[in-house]
């Protein structure tokens, strides 16, 4: 069979494609090696910088450490905002004199919420004087706000905003809906 210049060119193209692919693989392996080196380097820096966090985690003290830092941060960020425990929140709900605000997203509120709570999701906080749920309220009205769980700050953020608007009896339930639900207290569904 006679090989034409076109066949030779096609052969070269296939060889070029093969070499190209092989070079991609070689390059990929070499990049992986340098990636591992970079990962090790930043790991050493990261662990050295956050040794307290890493060692606490290894010792099993992570929860205590995070709780301590969370409390310190909240005390400085949300000065003057009163927080209540699960039992206190339940007592306030039972008394029925407190406006309870759910600061979670609409979808979460509709799924389950504390009975009687009104929803003020984060997207509505831009203009808090507008929502009819707040507009006509007395500034001395007792308000209890909760969000999803202990680690979320939304209840404190909203409490701080309302406090700055002149509401003097604002409280945040730090345990959040998760603590309420896990305690087996009543819950409601829908809007």
């Amino acid at each position: 069979m006679v090989r034409t210049s076109r066949d030779l060119f096609e052969g070269r193209k296939i060889k070029a494609l093969w070499v190209d692919t092989m070079n991609h693989i070689i390059s990929w392996k070499r990049d992986l090696f340098w990636s591992a080196c970079l990962l090790m380097f930043v790991s050493v820096i990261g662990v050295a910088k956050n040794w307290h966090l890493v060692s606490s985690s290894f010792r099993g003290d992570l929860d205590t450490l995070l709780e301590k830092h969370r409390t310190e941060r909240r005390q400085s960020e949300y000065k003057g905002i009163k927080t209540v425990t699960l039992d206190e929140a339940h007592a306030l709900w039972q008394a029925g004199q407190t406006l309870i605000i759910d600061a979670r997203h609409v979808q979460d509120y509709q799924e389950l919420h504390v009975p009687g709570a009104v929803n003020l999701p984060p997207e509505s906080w831009a203009n808090l004087t507008d929502p009819p749920k707040i507009a006509g309220l007395s500034r001395q009205r007792q308000i209890l706000i909760y969000c999803s769980q202990e680690s979320c700050d939304d209840s404190l953020k909203l409490a701080s905003k309302l406090f700055n608007l002149g509401f003097t009896q604002v409280m945040a339930f730090s345990g959040g809906f998760r603590a309420w639900d896990e305690a087996g207290y009543p819950v409601d569904t829908g809007s």
């Binding site: 070269r12 340098w34 990636s35 990962l39």
Partner: protein
């Protein structure tokens, strides 16, 4: 349509550094946010309930500097190439410098990180957990389709940038040039 296809190679040079620098800056910024608040980041990792607590501290310590390093090196790598082109008018100047190496290494690490993020987000969504994502540029965002779509888009972009970088590996060019003379000439 044909005109648009012809425009793609012409746009490739300005498009790659612009997208690469944008990606690098986004990762650097996301890393800085977490680096400055390691305890909050550890809480965000805990909320996913995927890692044993023993490893949470280590993960919270490593990810932020990793994001900062890959983001910073990516930006520096593209700036080195842009500087090389402007200074010497040579198309391949930056590729033969550590700039090219740092770009490929950074892009590969970004691909691996995005892969992990997507996997974690999908598992979390499948488990029905409604928690703050603690990811990307917006720490307050919740886990959901938005975060997954954003990460998939970034993964596609990073994979494309990495593939284009690999095509520019100098030895690859040299071998191809020897096989088909003139193939690699602009």
């Amino acid at each position: 349509m044909k005109r648009a296809i012809r425009l793609i190679p012409a746009l490739e040079w300005p498009l790659r550094p612009v997208l690469g620098i944008g990606l690098g800056l986004a990762f650097f910024y996301a890393g800085v946010q977490k680096y400055l608040a390691p305890y909050e980041f550890a809480e965000a990792i805990l909320a996913y309930q995927l890692l044993p607590k023993v490893l949470v501290g280590l993960t919270a310590a490593i990810f932020p500097p990793l994001e900062m390093a890959v983001g910073g090196l990516l930006v520096l790598g593209y700036l080195a190439e842009a500087w090389g082109r402007l200074a010497r008018s040579r198309r391949t100047f930056g590729e033969s410098l550590p700039g090219g190496m740092s770009r490929r290494t950074s892009l590969l690490l970004i691909i691996l990180q995005l892969g992990v993020f997507i996997l974690v987000l999908v598992i979390t969504m499948a488990r029905g957990l409604k928690i703050d994502c603690g990811c990307g540029l917006f720490m307050d965002r919740q886990v959901g389709f938005g975060a997954i779509v954003e990460d998939l888009f970034l993964l596609g972009l990073t994979a494309w940038l990495y593939w284009m970088e690999s095509k520019d590996v100098p030895e690859s060019k040299a071998v191809l040039e020897s096989v088909i003379p003139g193939r690699m000439k602009p």
